[in-house]
Symmetry: C2
Subunit: 222 residues, 2 copies
DNA sequence: TGTATAGCTGACTGGTGGTCATTTCAAGGG
DNA sequence: CCCTTGAAATGACCACCAGTCAGCTATACA
């Protein structure tokens, strides 16, 4: 009857299944950190989790559904961290910096966000996808709510800012995904190019421009 | 001796090889339109090109090098179209709209741009990658030059604008890559979400904010 | 026409995500 | 206490993928 059952026993109750599912997710996250998206294989994950490959498919319909779940978890985790560090009144600059740093600090969030719409979502059943969109909506609302206070914007303005920050984050961190060329002997012109696409200033400068743009467009009533 | 040789003969001269390489690229572009990135297979491409799979690897080291080449071609093609339609003095809005529409009109450019740095570049030899970066630098310079005139900005400002437009384009068109859910019976909350991420207004509004932001920061001398 | 060169071929390799008939084990009834 | 039962777990198996390379043969040139 004890609900704390060794994980490598058979999971029969719903509770035990949830535990096992989580164990798979934990192993997946660890493995993802090591291997990244492209090199991540289900066979390897099975080994690292200590189960057979077929077992993984009892808990996730596809590899992409597993990634979608990892993404959801990392989104929630990030939004909690971000919100917790928002203060009462911030400059656009400080806000952008905090957003960037917290997003980057979570080693899983950005790589998955970048691949969400053009890879991950294409091998997930529609109902699961809808469920995931709802998690997204909920998190955006929470973050927008707090951002409205921090940036002294209306709720609608804050909501637009938050959504736009996501878009900008995807674009700006794209360059971080390039193969690391820094240690190679690169010609200077290419070095300059890479430097000019450094993601942090790219994100922060443009985030500030956008936030100030939104603020200027429709000054809050009163 | 005739240099116009049937394509399904053996390519011996450099000229003939270039023709064959181009024939592969043409078939690849057509096939890419039908199948998209993920479903694109080298075996299928061989069939469509009318050669054996091994032959493809005489002309491209990897699948990704082929995609990189397609990308380069589409970048050059896009920048020519875009430049040709730039006029002497444009509003930020008109500029952004033109950039968005010309980029979207090329069915290959955006899907490849989106995958450039986190997929394509990771399976291409370094020298080829450097070559590709140089093509990129060159095109950005050309486009920036013309954009400076069109937007009445300094060269440095225009260069920053062009680079930032690329980043924004990647982020904003991300949502267009989602599986098409419109025909399904979607719950209204999710419909609203999708509508609020419609890529065209998302891109154009923020492009304008950024261009105006850049313009305001360092007014051109004189 | 004979021969050397090199473009071309496709069977093959080691991998992938995903399936499913079979095995195995925990729970509940007798 | 054992036995039945049904579901969790398994891993051999499938179709497919990108990429390789020994052998074949069309071509240019002597």
């Amino acid at each position: 009857m004890s609900s704390v059952v060794a994980i490598n026993q058979r999971a029969r109750s719903a509770e035990q299944k949830a535990l096992r599912r989580q164990a798979v997710l934990d192993a997946a996250e660890l493995y993802f950190h090591e291997a990244g998206y492209e090199a991540f294989s289900m066979a390897q994950l099975a080994k690292k989790t200590g189960v057979a490959k077929g077992t993984l498919y009892l808990y996730f319909q596809t590899r992409e559904e597993l990634f979608l779940t990892l993404y959801e978890h990392s989104l929630i985790r990030w939004s909690q961290v971000f919100i917790a560090e928002l203060s009462g009144a911030m400059t656009s600059q400080a806000y952008a910096q905090l957003l960037y740093q917290t997003a980057l600090a979570d080693g899983v969030f950005l790589p998955l966000l970048i691949r969400l719409e053009h890879v991950i979502e294409h091998n997930v059943a529609i109902p699961r996808l809808i469920e995931s969109k709802r998690v997204f909506i909920q998190q955006v609302e929470i973050v927008a709510q707090r951002s409205a206070t921090a940036l002294r914007l209306s709720t609608a303005q804050a909501s637009e800012v938050v959504k736009t920050m996501g878009v900008l984050l995807i674009g700006a961190t794209q360059t971080d995904q390039s193969p690391s060329l820094d240690n190679e002997a690169l010609p200077v012109d290419v070095q300059h190019l890479i430097a000019s696409f450094s993601s942090e200033p790219l994100f922060i400068k443009n985030a500030v421009r956008i936030i100030e743009g939104v603020r200027a467009e429709a000054p809050p009533p009163i």
